[in-house]
Symmetry: C2
Subunit: 263 residues, 2 copies
């Protein structure tokens, strides 16, 4: 038996919940039931009166919901209910893996320079050996939703010269990757924050939460490329596997409470 | 051609970086070069003197790094450099999918109640039809790193009666799932926050960032189960595909700057 039964889980942390968090929970329910995407919320004065909280508490709760991607603030308009997150397929079919035939990637720049030490190690190249790099921007519904940098060692693209201009290099490297027969690929997803460069490309302030996807592509028994992508965590839901199948995420917040209440 | 070349990406947002964010960048470099995991940082007074910033700015930067999982605060000890995130395999081999032969899952409770509306829709059952639920806790290195709730319709587990006690129900439902011949599975990963119940199980305060994984399992041409898992975003890196292959994520922060400088 690999499992054991724990009656009530580990001892509960009994620190009282902060006020803004209680308000957030109330607001989440209101967003789920009373409002629809794109709707403008009442102003802060009215909201704080309605919920009987101080403006500072209200703002903290609204900040939190903005961070979670439930609300969007627009200067001159106010606070809007955000659209549901976009489902972004992360593992693409072989044909589209490196951007062929799609208009959803834009090349931003390319280069030929040493990779960060850990990437070099993963690629099996010397720390100071230059590798091809291609930085791309992923577009969806007219928005920049993610950035990606591909690291491709010379061994993978031996016919791409080191002196090429950005645009030619990017096209040559991507064409080479598209033709690769991959043995396998693996990915890791974790939470990160947008650094300056990524934030600039995403047209958001630095520090916004992003989902960082690190991909390794294997061909001919070695790592042929490493890709590091960052997706806006407020607007993206990354999907793996059969596309269109996973559409239940927005209920996540409500699920545990309902189940407990009914069981 | 599916790609276009954008010289410098979209227009940069020229808002100045907040001071704490600049400090965070400096601290990240210091953590990468001067400190090792488990080491206790100098106290706040010394740190603010060293970096020439106000205590409030320092605290904001430390808060940010704690949120990112780079630092851990322990009462009576101080601020420690966090261990690297744990790689958590999300797609498990068929044998281990629902926890057989592993000691990494603990059953917390089980029930028989209507699922949240979106889950019911995904499962193809009526909104008020009860489904089996199993809540589990995922353990790694002695820590609770994630929670999961499985929703299993009666059609998938027709021989599990509705009146069973928690522990028997959980075992019966899991055994049924383990025997299923799956046609496919798909997942979505997105950023969420730990609600009260999840936070309690993870022994963390509500509101900490979590990676929410929604999984759909298909068998006999329909959705046989839906699982919603939440993993601590500060300590977990979710891995997909060949295990052990993806180990380059911690460099992500440094990568773009180095590439730009050298290209």
């Amino acid at each position: 038996m690999g499992t054991t039964l724990v009656a009530n889980g580990p001892a509960a942390d009994t620190a009282p919940e902060p006020k803004y968090w209680q308000l957030r929970t109330v607001l989440v329910r209101a967003l789920d039931t009373e409002f629809h995407a794109g709707e403008v919320l009442p102003n802060e004065r009215d909201l704080s009166a309605r919920f009987g909280v101080a403006r500072a508490t209200l703002r903290q709760a609204l900040d939190q919901l903005e961070l979670e991607g439930r609300l969007v603030r627009r200067r001159g308009i106010g606070t809007l209910v955000a659209a549901p997150r976009m489902g972004v397929p992360v593992v693409e079919s072989t044909d589209h893996r490196f951007g062929t035939g799609r208009d959803s990637w834009r090349i931003v720049e390319a280069g030929f320079a040493p990779a960060p030490a850990a990437v070099a190690a993963a690629l099996g190249v010397e720390a100071d050996a230059p590798v091809h790099t291609v930085r791309r921007l992923r577009m969806m519904q007219g928005q920049a939703i993610g950035t990606e940098i591909l690291y491709v060692p010379e061994a993978t693209a031996p016919h791409v010269p080191g002196f090429l201009a950005d645009s030619s290099r990017a096209r040559s490297v991507l064409r080479t990757l598209q033709r690769l027969e991959l043995d396998g690929e693996s990915r890791a997803v974790e939470l990160g924050v947008a650094e300056e460069e990524q934030a600039r490309l995403l047209e958001r302030p630095p520090g916004i939460p992003v989902l960082v996807v690190t991909a390794r592509y294997r061909a001919e028994g070695r790592v042929a490329a490493v890709g590091v992508s960052t997706y806006r965590a407020d607007t993206c839901r990354l999907t793996f596997g059969e596309s269109g199948l996973v559409e239940v995420a927005p209920v996540v917040a409500a699920a545990p409470a309902e189940v407990r209440a009914a069981s």
